[in-house]
């Protein structure tokens, strides 16, 4: 699966449009992480727990998007965008969306 956030993929041509695909998730960390983060908030610095939370949420949203694209029989997703929102404290809501397409490698340019 080729995933890019541009509209075209160099070296490939889009042969078929499969449609809009999306995936979302709301994830939270357990209370222990939240407490550790609030302590870290005193002295500043990177909150690793929350960075991890974001990574996990993004991965899950993307996996769902990819699963949808595979169901449609696509082999690439173009113009991928991410959206986030604040549903509740300590949770990350991630929404990934893109356009599933069928691409073909362009043979030898003449």
């Amino acid at each position: 699966m080729i995933i890019v956030n541009t509209e075209v993929i160099p070296g490939y041509k889009i042969v078929e449009l499969k449609g809009f695909v999306q995936g979302n998730t709301v994830r939270a960390k357990h209370a222990g992480r939240d407490i550790a983060a609030s302590l870290k908030n005193l002295v500043g610095g990177e909150l690793k727990g929350y960075t991890e939370l974001l990574t996990e949420a993004r991965r899950e949203a993307m996996e769902r998007m990819i699963a949808q694209a595979q169901q449609l029989g696509a082999n690439a997703i173009v113009n991928v965008r991410f959206c986030t929102s604040a549903v509740t404290a300590g949770a990350a809501e991630l929404y990934a969306y893109g356009t599933a397409v069928m691409v073909e490698k362009i043979e030898e340019l003449t």
Binding site: T6, E46, R58
Partner: protein, 157 residues
């Protein structure tokens, strides 16, 4: 009384540790940015001078969450009364953004790419709108870009 103890105890400690970690982070960012100097970064949708043998472009994502310290929140609150730029928060934002972009660059470089385009930087709010979280100041950034290989010659690369 509670507030007084907080002021006397927490502010100096937070000031010391906070500025120490901030300085260390900024120095670390500078070093890593120097290492990645030849890397081309654009936020346009066009693949500038893509090389013919470029591997298939790939999406790279970088996330980071950085928190402000107690002293800066205190100073920021004071500054808020008078208005004007709250420098410590500007620096905080900048640190998060630079870190997120650097994470993309480093992972893209690790896989043999030497340029990224269509860079997007997005704020992720994980603080939510709960009342008790208002006291904490933190920035979450999610940045993403498409990596490819350029044939443009970089003197520093």
């Amino acid at each position: 009384m509670d507030i007084l103890i907080q002021l006397i105890l927490l502010v100096p400690i937070a000031f010391l540790l906070g500025s120490l970690s901030e300085r260390r982070h900024l120095r670390n960012l500078e070093e890593r940015e120097k290492k990645c100097k030849g890397f081309k970064v654009t936020d346009t949708k066009i693949f500038h001078s893509i090389s013919l043998d470029s591997p298939t472009p790939k999406l790279f994502i970088g996330e980071v969450t950085v928190a402000s310290d107690y002293y800066k929140r205190f100073a920021g609150g004071l500054k808020n009364l008078f208005g004007g730029e709250i420098k410590s928060y500007s620096i905080l934002m900048q640190r998060a953004q630079r870190e997120a972009v650097l994470r993309i660059i480093e992972s893209a470089r690790g896989e043999g790419y030497n340029a990224i385009c269509n860079l997007r930087i997005e704020n992720a709010d994980i603080g939510g709108n709960a009342e008790y979280k208002k006291a904490s100041v933190m920035v979450s950034i999610i940045a993403y870009a498409t990596a490819y290989k350029t044939n443009e010659q970089n003197p520093e690369a």
